[in-house]
Every structure is written in C-alpha cells, then in structure tokens.
C-alpha cells in the first residue's frame, strides 16, 4: 500500500469512527436526518462520477437506479421481512445487473444520444413500478421499520452510520477505479474513444464495468432511503431531482478526481438542507440555480479545478 493509500484508509476509519461517535453521543436527531441526506448524495454523486466523470458519459438515469434500489428494499421487506443489510446487498446486485443490461443497450450510443437514452430509463422504470401492485403501484406504500439494532437507540442514527459506511465503500471504489487500468482506459474513452479503441483499449467492456459499478452504488444508496422515509411512491422514488443533483454535485466538485463529487455533494447537499430551513420559498431554488451557473462559468472544472489553478499560481509565485 502506498503512503497515500494508508492516509486514505486512516481517514476513512476516522470518518466511520466519527459517525459512530456522533450516533452514540448526539441526542438531537435533526443532525442525523439532515446528515443522512447529505451522505446519500455523496454516494450518488460518487457513483455518477465513475461513468459520467471518468468516461465522460453524461448519465441522467441516476433516479432510475436510485428508485429501483428503493423498490428492491421494499420488495425484500414485504416479501421476506429482510433486514437492512440484506436489502442493501441485494439492491447492489440488482443495480450491477441493471447497469450491465442497460449499458449493453445504451453504451453504443455516444454523447447527447446516450444522455437522452438514460432519461428514458427512468420513465421506463417508473412505469414498471406504477403497474406493480405488490410494491404499492401508483398509490405508494407505507412501511413500518423493523426494530433498531443495538447499540443504536434510534433507527435514524443506525441508518446514518450505515450510510457513512456506504460512503467509504463508494469512495474507495471510485478511488480504485480512478487509479487502476480501468480508470486509465475510461479516461482514454473520455478524451477520444475512437483513438482509444484503435490503440487496443476494450472500450465497451470498460464502459460496461463502469456502468455496473456505478449502478450498484446508486441502487445501494436507494435501499436505506426506503427505510428513511418509510414511505415510497413512484413519483418520489424516481424523482428527476436525484439525477440532476448527482450530476450537479459532480460538476461543482470536479469530475477528474474522486474527491470532486464528495466536495460537491457536501457543499450542495448542505446548502440545500440549509436553504430549506432558512429561506424556505421559491428563492431557494433560485439560489441553487445561480450557484450552478456561477460554477459553470467561473470554475468549469469545479472546485478541484479552482484549487489546482490557485495551487499552480502560488507555485509559480505569481500574484
């Protein structure tokens, strides 16, 4: 393990330890409700970035994967009373399979055509669930949580810690993909797919693997959300907001490094939570919109690009 790797895992262990400590010490549950949403977006943005950032395939299907994750959990709970970890595990497998399947169908399309195809996936998935009465169909479904597992004294705290672990898994995977042969291949695809193919990069296979990993993480993020809300209806579960937010968070953070989506999700996620309980009107939508425009214009490579530029300037000693 390289020096950087050691630091990464120390950081990850500290992060989980902090989450557990918070869950055991802090009594104010709002921290966990708001924190859950932010952590969920870190997983989604990181997952989105594996295909959208590294390979440059802009995917609007996040909500489809997320929603399927939600409904996988609901199905397992209703059919087998499955515990949370089983729900997340199975959702990840379903997501990976879905990623592979959808990848095979859509990844031969490029650019805007791929993006349009991914929008359709959400609509197809939502229509399927609307017509599946067992999981509530169009009317939605309310569930009661299974009892909380000790040492946690409330379910939301447990969900918060589970999500923190999921964040570490997602970020570790993204980091691995970025530094591996797979990541180099994906970057080649992003820069020039034809050139990469002609150099012997198995572009379709790489994209499929990326799509499967990304899908697995998105679905895995959806599963605990079912238990967070204890309610699901197709309109909420397949809300386009998940797709747009995951994309915006990655773009704002920067797509070239795994830390980008993490920073973007923390910044945008906490701003969203903050605006909801402060400005709380149409203006909060406007503030978010302005933030996006500002970043696209002033920092097209996101926070990472901005920091790199500043770093270079400082390095060169220029003002």
């Amino acid at each position: 393990m390289t020096g950087r790797g050691v630091w990464f895992w120390i950081g990850a262990a500290l992060f989980i330890a902090l989450a557990v400590a918070l869950a055991l010490v802090v009594r104010n549950e709002y921290v966990f409700f708001a924190g859950f949403v932010i952590l969920q977006f870190i997983v989604l943005a990181t997952a989105w970035n594996i295909l959208g950032g590294y390979a440059g395939y802009v995917n609007f299907g996040t909500s489809a994967f997320f929603g399927i994750g939600v409904y996988t959990a609901i199905f397992l709970l209703k059919a087998f009373s499955a515990p949370l970890l089983v729900q997340i595990g199975v959702a990840a497998v379903v997501g990976a399979a879905m990623g592979l399947g959808i990848g095979l169908l859509t990844l031969r399309l490029r650019g805007i055509f791929f993006s349009i195809a991914t929008v359709a996936i959400t609509i197809i998935a939502e229509t399927l669930i609307i017509n599946w009465k067992f999981v509530g169909g169009a009317t939605g479904v309310q569930m009661l949580r299974p009892p909380v597992t000790p040492p946690f004294d409330s379910y939301i705290k447990m969900l918060f810690v589970v999500l923190a672990i999921l964040v570490v898994i997602a970020v570790a995977l993204a980091r691995y993909v970025q530094d591996s042969k797979l990541g180099r291949g994906l970057r080649a695809v992003r820069d020039d797919e034809v050139a990469a193919e002609s150099c012997g990069v198995p572009t379709l296979n790489l994209k499929l693997v990326a799509c499967a990993i990304s899908g697995a993480l998105m679905c895995a993020a959806g599963a605990p959300s079912a238990m967070y809300l204890q309610f699901a209806d197709p309109v909420s579960a397949f809300n386009l907001n998940y797709s747009v937010s995951a994309l915006a968070m990655s773009l704002i953070g920067g797509t070239s490094h795994w830390i980008g989506p993490v920073l973007g999700a923390i910044l945008l996620g906490s701003t969203q939570q903050l605006l909801t309980v402060t400005i709380s009107s149409e203006i909060n939508v406007l503030v978010l919109g302005l933030m996006l425009v500002l970043f696209v214009v002033a920092a097209p490579e996101g926070i990472i690009g901005l920091v790199r530029r500043l770093w270079r300037r400082v390095g060169k000693g220029s003002p």
């Binding site: 708001a34 169009a138 967070y228 699901a232 309109v235 909420s236």
Partner: protein, 416 residues
C-alpha cells in the same frame, strides 16, 4: 448580625423567587406551531392557500389575546411538494426549533413519511387534507381536518346518487397516481358491494393529454354513470374531449373524484364546460354551509389571497386550515395546557364547532362521518370567476343534511 441574617434570607428568598419565575417567564413565550407546506412544486397552489387559512386563524387568535394567554407563532418550511424533504424538516421543527405543536403539510405524499416519526415520539399531529395516511401507522394522536371520513364514503356518496337516478352500470377511469388509484380501488369495491356492474375500467399515465379514445370507449360501453379520478390537467383534458365527442345519452352521472374543478383558475377557464358534472368538494358558498365565522373568514382570506396571488376563492382548503386551528384552540382550552395526551383525548371524544361545520373524529383520526360534498355544476357561464361566489352554481346533492337541490340527469340534459 441580625440584619446580616435577614439580608441572607432575603437573598435566598430572592434567588428562589427568581428561580421559580424563570420557567414561568419562559412559559410566557409564544406557542410555536411547526409545519412544512408545499410552497413550491406540484402541490404549491394548494399549499399556499391552506397556509393563508392557518395564518388568518393565527392572527384572529392573537387578536383575542392568544392561545392559553400566549401568542401563537407559526414556523413554516417549504417541503417542495416532496416526500423526501419532510422527515428532516419535522425533525428540525422538533429538535432544533422545539415547537409546541405540529400541523401536517397539505396532501398525502409529504405527510406519509412523518407519520412514523410522530408515532415514535407520541405526538399530536393535525392532518391537512391527506387521504388514509394513518392506515398503516395507526397513530392514536392523528386528526385529519379533511372532510373525507371513512375511506369508502366518498365513492358511496356518488354511487348512491347514481343508483337513486336508476343507474345500474358504471365506468371507471383514473390517473395512474397515488390518490386517484386509491379512490378507484375503493369505488370498484363499493360498486361490487352494491351490485353495480363495472362495464369499463381504465387507468392512464399521469402525463396523458389526449382523451378522445377513452371518451369514445366509455361511450361505446354505454355506462349509466362514470366515476372519474383525475388530476387538474387530465380533468381539463377529459372535459374538453367530452365537449367535442359527447359521452352518450346513457350517462346519468359524470364526475366523482376530479381534482382541479375546485380551483378558481380551472373553474374560470372551463366555464360552461363544467355544467352537469357532479364532483366532490369540501366547502361551497351555499346557504346550508354557513356556520359561525365562515363569512368573516372568507372576507379576510380573499383580501390576502389577492395580494399573495393565490386562489381567490379558496373554498377547497383554506377554511379547513382555519378549522385546524379552531380545533387545537378548543382542545388546548379544555386541557388547560398543551398536554398532547389530554388534547388528543378531547379531540377524539368531542364534537367541535368550526367554520366548516361541526367536526367529530372516529378512532382512526379521520372524520367520524363523511362531510365530503357531491355537488353538481349548474348554469355556469364562461370566463367569470365572480359567479362562483354566489350560491346556486354548485348545488349540493350529498350529504343529505347540507343538500341544496336535486340531481339533474341525464348528464347531457344537465349540460344544457
């Protein structure tokens, strides 16, 4: 020495008095009522109107000297019409803002995710026009202000009216969305129970705009009544298609669960196309629906609604927001405190006078008896929103106690 002792005693007494006075003073702070409300997104039009109703109550009660002698303050956050937002908002209201009482947001979807939270913490929650949201959770401190009553009473009112006018068959049509599907299922069950044959049944995707094929199919099925569970855009689309194609002379009763026909903007734009439709409603400006305070409320509401550019009529939701406050007021006065258990006991076991009529709750926290109106549009002209302020434009056919006229059937005749 003596004086020093007295001095010490005085100090101790003073300290004790201050200590005792502190909580008393804290109690003199405002009573905080927390809620989220859809102020943006698909449910915003309704949410804003409902909120004005609650705000009018707040101002009225503060003018009278407050609730239990304390000022009432509302803490409202926008839930963007989304279920995903409300758990965090309600936890903020409880854990950070430390509100004294909770009101639910308008509509079922944003309310559903907070039901487990209030049950877990055993809190009183006043519902705001959601539908059967307590079915799974079974919380004993939930009280819904909506007039729905028992789940099947809605469809029962409509089907009873149809059967009285000789209808034996029914067509069912509804959007593939939460509320519409709930209603459709119930309507089908009631029809089966009453021996009414369902001759046509169709769900359509929420974004449907073209209804001519469905209207033709209903016409071909020659149903005696048509129960429609639609949302505002489809309600409009359907009525336009019927106007163009015609629904056939067999139909005696048309409508039931069409959302949108209660909102001023839709009513104004549809105008005469509304005539004949028998649809659900919550409150209407008919003589039988005037209760103590109703008139004064609408005078205040309508002034604010125009300023805020919200539904200028506000019949559907706003008075029920006010009634929610009135019920809490009576419960708190009876309990002489904000003790949520005592308040819930009062709400469960008493009939309360409100500006929308007397309200009593059943064991599930829904109305003991349905007060959902079935009313028929009559003599509506085009492009005139003011006409709806007068009685006679929507004749109440059900429930019996508020009836203001008889059904005109068949549908084609009533449209003229």
């Amino acid at each position: 020495m003596n004086s020093a002792r007295i001095g010490r005693r005085t100090i101790i007494a003073g300290a004790l008095a201050t200590g005792a006075a502190l909580p008393a003073m804290a109690q003199q702070g405002p009573i905080k009522i927390g809620m989220s409300m859809p102020l943006t997104g698909g449910l915003a039009a309704g949410g804003k109107s409902a909120l004005i109703g609650i705000e009018v109550w707040r101002d009225d009660i503060n003018e009278k000297g407050g609730l239990l002698g304390r000022k009432v303050e509302l803490i409202v956050y926008d839930d963007k019409s989304s279920a995903a937002e409300t758990p965090a908002i309600y936890s903020k209201l409880l854990d950070v803002d430390k509100v004294d009482l909770l009101f639910a947001p308008y509509a079922t979807v944003p309310t559903a995710p907070i039901m487990p939270l209030v049950k877990q913490r055993d809190l009183l929650l006043m519902g705001n026009f959601s539908f059967q949201v307590n079915r799974t959770v079974k919380h004993d401190k939930w009280f819904n202000n909506a007039p729905w009553g028992p789940a099947d009473s809605w469809a029962r009112g409509f089907i009873d009216l149809g059967m009285k006018s000789g209808a034996k068959t029914m067509a069912l049509i509804g959007a593939d969305q939460e509320f519409a599907q709930n209603l459709m299922k119930i309507a089908k069950d009631v029809a089966n129970e009453k021996g009414v044959k369902v001759v046509y049944e169709q769900s359509y995707p929420p974004a449907t705009v073209e209804f001519s094929a469905m209207v033709r199919a209903i016409r071909a099925a020659r149903a005696d009544m048509v129960f429609v569970c639609s949302y505002p855009p489809d309600s409009v689309g359907l009525l336009r298609a019927i106007n163009e194609i015609g629904i056939g002379d067999s139909v005696k009763l048309f409508g039931g669960g069409m959302v949108g026909l209660q909102f001023a903007a839709v009513m104004e734009s549809m105008g005469s196309l509304l005539n004949g439709v028998v649809n659900y409603n919550s409150w209407l400006p008919e003589k039988s629906m005037e209760f103590a305070g109703t008139k004064e409320f609408f005078a205040k509401y309508q002034k604010r609604a125009v300023e805020a550019k919200v539904d200028p009529l506000g019949y559907y939701l706003a008075p029920f927001g006010y009634a929610m406050g009135q019920m809490v007021e009576q419960a708190a006065n009876s309990a002489k405190s904000l003790d949520q258990k005592k308040m819930a006991d009062f709400l469960r076991s008493n009939e309360m006078a409100t500006i929308v009529g007397p309200i009593a709750f059943g064991p599930d926290g829904e109305r003991k008896e349905s007060a959902t109106l079935m009313a028929q549009f009559r003599g509506v002209v085009d492009k005139n929103v003011e006409q709806f302020r007068n009685p006679g434009k929507q004749i109440i056919l059900f429930p019996e106690k508020w009836k203001t006229g008889e059904l005109v059937a068949p549908f084609d005749k009533a449209r003229k």
